[in-house]
């Protein structure tokens, strides 16, 4: 290049654009040279980027062309083009190069980070098994081999089609047509499973639908063959081939069975019906992914698309159960349920009665309380004596506190009915604890005039003990005194004062005074969150109590949100097997049950129960509570015999351990009556329920929520036996009390109205029935009841009535709005 040109260019390029012209005018007299310099300067800007882009674009193209390598030979096949790219490698369209057959095939070339040895013998054997798998809805595996550069490949029947999800979208398939598309796939899968071949990687991309609408499964068992290839331990994440559809056992790297395919097929259907995969894996690390897949419940399909509520929800959740044992036993069973749904028949995932009837013989499912104390006679006496001695000997508060600590933690706590029944200790059957407590309560009076803090602590403990024994008025009296003393001595914001407020709230709750309970718990919680933070055990206790109150008030969404929040904190702070954590699991399951999320409830209950039997003992009150919840789940599933056996066992233990008049025993009596009712043993149920009602009226009072539930159930048993007048009168009595004592819009009240409506329907009073049912739907009827309305046998006389059809639709809408609200409310902030 001309050195003068270079020099002029260099100098001019170093100047600002405005100065260049003058510079050149001064330094370059040759007009040709000047034009050349000006031309170069004009092309100076952006030249580098321009060249870089040109080269790198070409490089990208080259690279891709290199990879397709059309014309490249793989064994007897010649590659024509690339037809896809998956997680395992590229898929090529190819044809026989030797002209032996005129057949187009798809060749999947697998790639791995490690240099692959030749396909192992076992893998080759596997390929032979796959080749034997022939079904019109399975893309046939024709051959397998290793390319010259060491990459294993599979030759499959070429399917010209679209992936299942895109096919459904492009052809705007209806929900029913989407379901129908799955049936032949189930059939294919069933054949494979009979030959003990598991697909392992079912996903929409592995299912192509041809122009004729025939779905075909691709890549059968290839994941397994790939599994024969050594994978380095760091690469465990690669085990999850397609995380969105991987089953929990796959995610954890556990052995894979046919249940895995059922899960993944459920996932495919889920995607097809809701538009999203069952698990969101975007932006998640492999560890987070494994955790999410193996622990998190799949979102109810109806939360994503309302019209899926009901049976489809149940079918999908059964197929996508985290526990393989709880899924469909075979893909045939899965297909049968899809067919039943298509034909409008009852499905297996939802047992016939779904406990609709069971609900009417209802019971109140109590939240398990994390109460801590109760005392045996000797211990109370000893404790009170020792406190007195202790206070006398040492005037200092610190020492008094120590004495009290001893009382609370070492003596009283050991004797509590809850903590009595650890795995190694036998519950004390002596129920005269009450006498001891009464005496102790009297002894306190005036003894600690100068030690208000100590007196408050003792009263608080004794009150708490009364509460545990189900003696609510006594508990209230002691706790109210304790609160008064603590307020004065410690102030309003002291953690102890706040704790006593919360305990009083709990007594109110147990006495059925929900409104008062809500006020007290909120008050305690507000102070505790401020003073102690949201993760303090005291704060968690109050949160839990407030959640119980919400549940009782029928505010299930709020209850679920709080329980979920507590569970998250407890799992993190206390650990997954801590008593509080496990109790919360049971409580959350209870919320789920009320919200008709049975699948979620049952999983959680079984998990909780398994841990509880170990940590609380098989006869511990908390274990019993969750056992009882499980009977409810059985009932919901129509497994009445199992429910009855379990419930009888619970009642037997409670009568022995707690006494026949303990609220829990009464509760179990009512539950047993309900299960008898489920099985049509109405007369027997009536006897048991009448007995229960008598005791409840005496022990709990005639207006206690439990008493009211029993009245409703008894009315139902009357109704079943045709004693309509008795039933009607009892229901109206119940309603009158509920309207007076319960919060407005309480689901229990709404349910009574509903039940009176049912009686009217049975008697053929259609107009009255419709009016009452509508009223109940609009005033707090729980989704659990509302969603079962069209299946309620009591309302059979209304079937075909357009008003009823409209009402059912309306009820569904209201219920789903509630469930949706619950779903959005779940991730609550502190």
């Amino acid at each position: 290049m001309n050195p003068e040109l270079e020099s002029l260019f260099e100098q001019a390029a170093g100047l600002a654009a405005t100065e260049r012209e003058q510079f050149l005018a001064e330094h370059c007299s040759d007009p040709d040279l000047r034009r050349e310099v000006e031309l170069l300067l004009a092309h100076d800007r952006g030249a580098e980027t321009f060249l870089q882009r040109a080269v790198s674009e070409e490089a990208s193209s080259t690279l891709q062309i290199l990879v397709f390598a059309p014309g490249q030979r793989l064994g007897p096949y010649r590659v024509l083009s690339v037809i896809g790219r998956g997680g395992m490698g590229l898929v090529y369209l190819a044809e026989r190069a030797d002209g032996k057959f005129e057949q187009r095939v798809a060749i999947k070339v697998l790639q791995s980070d490690v240099d692959l040895p030749l396909l192992s013998n076992r893998a080759q054997q596997e390929c032979r098994i796959l080749a034997s798998l022939q079904h019109p809805n399975i893309a046939h595996v024709l051959d397998a081999g290793v390319s010259h550069d060491g990459l294993p490949y599979f030759v499959m029947e070429y399917v010209d089609g679209l992936p299942l999800d895109r096919y459904s979208e492009r052809h705007h398939l209806s929900l029913r047509d989407r379901l129908r598309l799955l049936l032949p796939l189930c059939d294919a899968l069933h054949l494979a499973h009979q030959k003990l071949i598991v697909h392992r990687d079912l996903k929409p991309d592995n299912i192509l639908v041809t122009e004729q609408g025939v779905p075909k499964l691709l890549d059968f068992g290839i994941a397994k063959v790939l599994g024969e290839v050594p994978v380095s331990p760091q690469n465990t994440a690669t085990r999850i081939l397609t995380p969105e559809y991987a089953s929990p056992e796959q995610a954890r790297g556990e052995p894979v069975t046919t249940a895995t395919d059922i899960y993944s097929l459920g996932g495919v259907l889920y995607r097809l019906l809701t538009g999203s995969a069952p698990h969101q894996t975007k932006d998640k690390s492999p560890m987070e992914m494994v955790r999410a897949i193996s622990e998190e419940e799949v979102r109810r399909p109806s939360e994503l698309r309302r019209e899926l509520a009901g049976d489809i929800d149940s079918i999908l959740l059964k197929a996508l159960h985290t526990d393989p044992q709880q899924r469909y036993r075979s893909v045939d069973q899965f297909a049968a349920d899809l067919e039943s749904w298509l034909e409008g028949k009852p499905v297996l995932a939802v047992p016939p009665s779904l406990g609709y009837r069971a609900r009417k013989f209802g019971r109140r499912h109590r939240v398990v309380l994390a109460t801590v104390s109760a005392v045996a006679l000797a211990l109370v006496v000893a404790a009170v004596v020792s406190i007195r001695e202790g206070i006398r000997a040492n005037r200092e508060t610190a020492v008094a506190e120590a004495v009290n600590d001893f009382l609370q933690n070492d003596l009283l706590a050991q004797a509590g009915s809850s903590s009595q029944s650890g795995p190694d200790t036998k519950p004390d059957p002596d129920l005269k604890v009450r006498t001891a407590l009464d005496r102790a309560a009297q002894q306190i009076e005036g003894k600690f005039a100068k030690q208000p803090e100590v007196e408050a602590s003792i009263r608080d403990t004794i009150g708490w003990t009364y509460l545990d024994l189900g003696l609510y008025p006594e508990a209230r009296k002691q706790l109210a005194r304790a609160l008064e003393l603590r307020r004065r001595a410690l102030g309003e914001d002291n953690p102890k004062t706040l704790e006593t407020i919360s305990r009083l709230g709990r007594v109110a709750y147990l006495q059925g005074k929900d409104v008062e309970a809500e006020v007290l718990e909120k008050q305690a919680l507000e102070g505790q969150r401020r003073v102690q933070g949201p993760e303090n055990p005291g704060t968690l206790n109050s949160t839990s109590s407030l959640a119980s109150v919400y549940q009782s008030e029928g505010k299930y969404a709020q209850a679920e949100a709080l329980h979920a929040q507590i569970l998250e904190i407890e799992r993190r702070v206390f650990g997954p097997e801590h008593p509080s954590t496990v109790i919360t699991m049971g409580n959350l399951a209870n919320d789920y049950q009320y919200e008709a999320k049975y699948a979620q409830a049952e999983v959680l209950e079984k998990q909780a129960l398994e841990i509880m039997k170990r940590i609380f003992g098989p006869e511990g009150p908390r274990t019993l509570h969750v056992m009882e919840q499980l009977t409810w789940a059985y009932e919901s599933e129509g497994k009445y015999a199992e429910a009855e056996t379990l419930q009888i066992r619970i009642l037997e233990i409670e009568r022995r351990v707690l006494g026949p008049e303990h609220p829990d025993s009464l509760h179990s009596m009512a539950a047993l009556a309900a299960i008898e009712g489920d099985q049509g043993k109405y007369a027997q149920a009536e006897v048991l329920e009448t007995q229960t009602l008598q005791i409840q009226r005496r022990v709990l009072g005639p207006e206690h929520p439990d008493t009211l539930v029993t009245m409703g159930s008894l009315a139902a048993f009357y109704g079943e036996q045709g004693k309509y007048d008795q039933a009607d009168s009892l229901q109206n009595q119940t309603l009158e009390i509920q309207r007076r004592v319960l919060s407005p819009e309480n689901p229990a009240t709404a349910e009574t109205v509903y039940n009176i409506g049912c009686l009217a329907a049975r008697r053929g009073h259609k107009d009255r029935a419709i009016t009452l049912l509508t009223q109940s739907v609009d005033h707090g009827l729980s989704p659990y009841v509302a969603l079962g309305m069209d299946n309620d046998a009591d309302l059979a006389s209304l079937h075909g009535d357009p008003r009823f059809v409209a009402l059912v639709a309306h009820a569904k809408q209201v219920a789903e709005a509630k469930q949706k609200a619950a779903a959005t409310q779940a991730p609550i902030r502190h």
Partner: protein, 182 residues
Amino acid sequence: MQEVTLLLKRLGGGDKTALDEIIPLVYAELRRIAQGYLRRESPGNTLQPTALIHEAYLRMVRQSHPNYVSRAHFYGISARIMRQILVDNARQRHAKKRASEQTVELSETLEIAGQRPQEVMVLDEALNRLSAIDERKSNLVEMRFFGGMTAEEIAECACIPAHTVRRELRIAQAWLRKELSA
């Protein structure tokens, strides 16, 4: 792999025909690496083809000639091979595009990037013209763009100061762009 050693020696000695023989060897390596890259490729993680081809070359050389030390020689050859590969491909693609109406149908997910094969071909011709006027500048451009080297790396290889490399590259780039837009 005696073959590669011999080819490299011939290339070093200025035997241009050795290039034609060495390129297929690089291709084989390249294909393997490219497949791996494509598999790992994820959105937002752009492929770096230049680096890739270097890796292929490097692997090939290392496998056959572990004690190969002349960096200048290595980089120079690497850039030359890259240029050759890209131009060859562009030519093939261009020819195919013109020749066949029945282009191979590609799935929607795999569209070929860079629909302008001529650009590199034109650049190649322009570089040849530049080489005729000023061989050194042509080599610098080759190393910079086909070799993906920085000015400092080029300076080290070519044993000239970095600022000279930058100065010469600047005018060469402007010149090439002018030629290409003509």
